[in-house]
C-alpha cells in the first residue's frame, strides 16, 4: 500500500540522515585540531606522557575505526566514557535530559496556547485594526531573542515583584511545588518568543483556508463565520501547520539550550557548555549527536503524522474504502 511505503521511505531517510549527521559531527570534532590527551593532561605535560595517553585512549588508530566504534556505541545506547570525569557519558546526561524535556514540553504548550487563538484572530480580523495590531505584535515578538525575553521576565517577576525565583532548579521528585515555580519563567520566556513566530505561521495557514469554498458552503448551511472556521477550517489549517511544526520544535530545542543558561537550569544545554569549557570532546560529540537525533526524529514524526492525518493520502482514490 502506498501509505505504508511512504512511511517506510521516511524511516529509511531518517536512518540515513542519522548516520550521515553522526559522521559530520564526528569529523568536525575529530578531524579538526585539538588533542584530547593534551586537554586531559594540561599544558605542562611532557610529550612522552601525552603520547602514552594517546595510545591508551586509542587515539592513534585510524579515524574510520574510531568512528565505527562510536557509531556502534550510539546504536547500543553507549556514548563512551568521559575522559575527564571517568564516568559513562550516558550517566552524566541522564538528569539534564529530563530538565530539558520539561522545558521544551512547557515551552511548546505556552507557544501553542498563544499562537493558535492569536493566529486565528489576526487572520479572521486581518482587515480590521485589532487583527493588524495582533500581527504587528507578533512581528515585535519575533524581534526579541528568547534569552532577552527571559531576562526581561526575570527583571519583572523575580527582581521587581519577587513572585518567582530568578534562577535555579528543584527536581520534581524532591518538591513538585518548587519545581513548578522554577520552571514558570523559563517556559514563558521560551514559549512567548516561539509563540510569536508560530502565530505568523498559524495566521498564514488560516488566511489561506479562509478563502476556501468549503467554508462558504459551511456558512450556507447555517454556521456563523467563526463556527465555520472552527468546525471546517481548523483541520485543513492544522494539516498545513503540522509540516512547519517540525521546524518549530527544532528552534524550541535550540531556544531551550539558551534559556537554560539564562535561568541556570541544569539541562542538556548547561551540560553541553560545561563539556565545551572542559573541552571534553567525546561528551560534546555525544550530546550534540543526541540533540541532532532528537531533531531528526521529531521531524520524521511530524512527516509521518502528516501522512496519517491527510485523508487524501490515507484513502487514495480508486482504493475505495
Amino acid at each position: 500500500m502506498t501509505l505504508l511505503r511512504r512511511i517506510a521511505a521516511r524511516l529509511v531517510t531518517l536512518l540515513l540522515s542519522l548516520v550521515a549527521s553522526s559522521l559530520v559531527v564526528f569529523l568536525l570534532l575529530q578531524a579538526l585540531p585539538g588533542d584530547m590527551a593534551q586537554v586531559i593532561l594540561g599544558t605542562s605535560a611532557t610529550p612522552e606522557a601525552i603520547a602514552e595517553l594517546r595510545e591508551e585512549l586509542g587515539l592513534n588508530r585510524p579515524w574510520p575505526v574510531r568512528y565505527l566504534e562510536w557509531l556502534g556505541g550510539l546504536a547500543t545506547g553507549n556514548l563512551g566514557i568521559s575522559a575527564l570525569s571517568q564516568k559513562p557519558i550516558v550517566d552524566l546526561i541522564a538528569a539534564p535530559v529530563g530538565v530539558t524535556m520539561w522545558l521544551v514540553l512547557f515551552g511548546s504548550i505556552v507557544s501553542l496556547v498563544l499562537a493558535l487563538p492569536l493566529g486565528l484572530w489576526s487572520a479572521m480580523r486581518r482587515r480590521h485594526v485589532d487583527g493588524v495590531a495582533v500581527n504587528a505584535l507578533s512581528h515585535l515578538g519575533m524581534a526579541i531573542p528568547a534569552f532577552l525575553a527571559g531576562l526581561l521576565l526575570t527583571a519583572l517577576f523575580a527582581v521587581t515583584l519577587r513572585w518567582l525565583p530568578a534562577n535555579g532548579y528543584v527536581p520534581l521528585s524532591r518538591d513538585p511545588y518548587q519545581w513548578a515555580r522554577h520552571l514558570i519563567l523559563p517556559s514563558l520566556a521560551l514559549g512567548i518568543v516561539q509563540g510569536a513566530m508560530f502565530t505568523r505561521y498559524v495566521r498564514s495557514a488560516f488566511v489561506e483556508v479562509l478563502g476556501e469554498d468549503y467554508l462558504r458552503t459551511a456558512r450556507s448551511v447555517g454556521w456563523t463565520r467563526l463556527g465555520a472556521v472552527l468546525r471546517h477550517g481548523v483541520r485543513p489549517a492544522g494539516l498545513q501547520l503540522v509540516t512547519v511544526l517540525g521546524l518549530q520544535l527544532v528552534s524550541l530545542l535550540v531556544g531551550a539550550i539558551v534559556i537554560e543558561q539564562v535561568f541556570v537550569l541544569p539541562g542538556l544545554g548547561s551540560e553541553l557548555f560545561k563539556a565545551v569549557q572542559r573541552r571534553d570532546l567525546l561528551e560534546v560529540q555525544g550530546v550534540v549527536m543526541l540533540l541532532v537525533a532528537a531533531v531528526l526524529v521529531m521531524n520524521t514524526l511530524m512527516e509521518v503524522c502528516y501522512l496519517l492525518l491527510d485523508p487524501r493520502l490515507r484513502h487514495p482514490v480508486g482504493g475505495g474504502r
Binding site: Y214, S220, P311
Partner: protein, 273 residues
C-alpha cells in the same frame, strides 16, 4: 399570494476601497414555490446578487438597498440570526463541486452536520442522511456517505452538495450554476434530480446560469442581467418568444448555435439592435 417570500429592492453592492460596483439597482421577487431564473454572462452580477441574499458576500463588500425574507430585512441582520435562517429556510448549491466540500471530512458527516446544526436530527440521523443521498440520485448512498470528497466524482459531489442544501427542506434554494462544472451527460441527470426534488418539496428556487437552455428549462420566470443591472424580466415564455432588449436577443440566438448553417456568419450583438 399577497406576501412575497423574497423581495430584493434596489440592491447595490460595491467592493473594496475602490468601490468597484458589482450590482446596481437590482430588484426581483419570488413567491413561495416559484422558480426564478437569473441569466447573464460571468461578471454580470448574478452570483453577487445570490450571495447578497444569503448574506455570504466577502468581507470587503458593501451592500445597500433591501433584501426582505418574508417581510424581514436581511441586510444588516446580525450574523447569528442570519446563520439560523441559512440551511433551514434558505440554502444554496454552489458551482464548484470540486472545492465546495471539506476535504478532511466524510461526505455523510457533512450532510449529517446540517441536520444536527439545526437540531433537526430527531430519529436516526444516519438513516436520514443515507435516504437523502439516495433521493438526490446517488446509487450507492451508504458507500458515498462513507467516502471522502476526493474519492467522489464531480457529479457525485454536486449531488452531495444538493443533499446538504435540501436535507432540512428549505423554502428557498439558490442554485448558482450548479451544473456548469459537470459533463453534459451528467449535467442533464443532475438537473432532472434537482427539478424533481424541488417539485416534491415545493421549495422556491433562484436558479442562476449563463446557459439559457438550462435556465429556461428550470424556471417559470426569467431575469436577464448585464453589467450588474437587470436588463429584462418576464415569464420564461415571454422572454424567449418576444425578447425586448438586444442583449437578450443575442443570448437567444447564440444559445441556438447548433442551428447556424455551416459557412454562415455567426450572429453578433449589433445584428439584434
Amino acid at each position: 399570494m399577497s406576501r412575497r417570500l423574497l423581495e430584493v429592492r434596489d440592491l447595490h453592492v460595491s467592493f473594496g476601497r475602490s468601490r468597484t460596483v458589482g450590482v446596481d439597482e437590482v430588484s426581483l421577487s419570488l413567491a413561495a414555490g416559484e422558480r426564478l431564473g437569473v441569466i447573464g454572462e460571468s461578471g454580470s452580477g448574478k452570483s453577487v446578487t445570490a450571495l447578497a441574499v444569503m448574506g455570504l458576500l466577502p468581507e470587503n463588500a458593501r451592500p445597500r438597498g433591501s433584501v426582505r425574507w418574508k417581510g424581514i430585512e436581511l441586510l444588516g441582520m446580525p450574523e447569528r440570526r442570519l446563520a439560523r435562517l441559512r440551511g433551514t429556510q434558505l440554502s444554496m448549491v454552489f458551482q464548484e463541486p470540486l472545492t465546495a466540500l471539506d476535504p478532511t471530512m466524510k461526505a455523510g458527516r457533512q450532510v449529517a452536520e446540517v441536520l444536527r446544526l439545526h437540531r433537526m436530527s430527531r430519529g436516526d440521523t444516519q438513516e436520514r442522511v443515507v435516504s437523502m443521498l439516495g433521493r438526490v440520485g446517488l446509487s450507492e448512498p451508504e458507500r458515498i456517505a462513507d467516502s471522502y470528497p476526493h474519492q467522489l466524482s464531480g457529479g457525485q459531489r454536486q449531488r452531495v452538495l444538493m443533499a446538504m442544501a435540501l436535507v432540512n427542506r428549505p423554502e428557498l434554494v439558490i442554485c448558482d450554476e450548479p451544473t456548469t462544472a459537470l459533463d453534459v451527460t451528467v449535467q442533464k441527470r443532475v438537473l432532472d434530480t434537482l427539478d424533481h426534488q424541488l417539485a416534491e418539496s415545493g421549495a422556491a428556487c433562484l436558479f442562476i446560469s449563463h446557459d439559457l437552455a438550462v435556465v429556461s428549462r428550470m424556471a417559470h420566470r426569467l431575469v436577464v442581467m448585464r453589467h450588474g443591472r437587470v436588463v429584462e424580466a418576464g415569464s420564461t415564455q415571454q422572454v424567449l418568444t418576444d425578447p425586448q432588449h438586444p442583449y437578450t436577443r443575442g443570448l437567444i440566438a447564440t444559445a441556438d448555435l447548433a442551428a447556424v448553417v455551416p459557412g454562415e456568419r455567426l450572429p453578433v450583438l449589433e445584428d439584434f439592435a
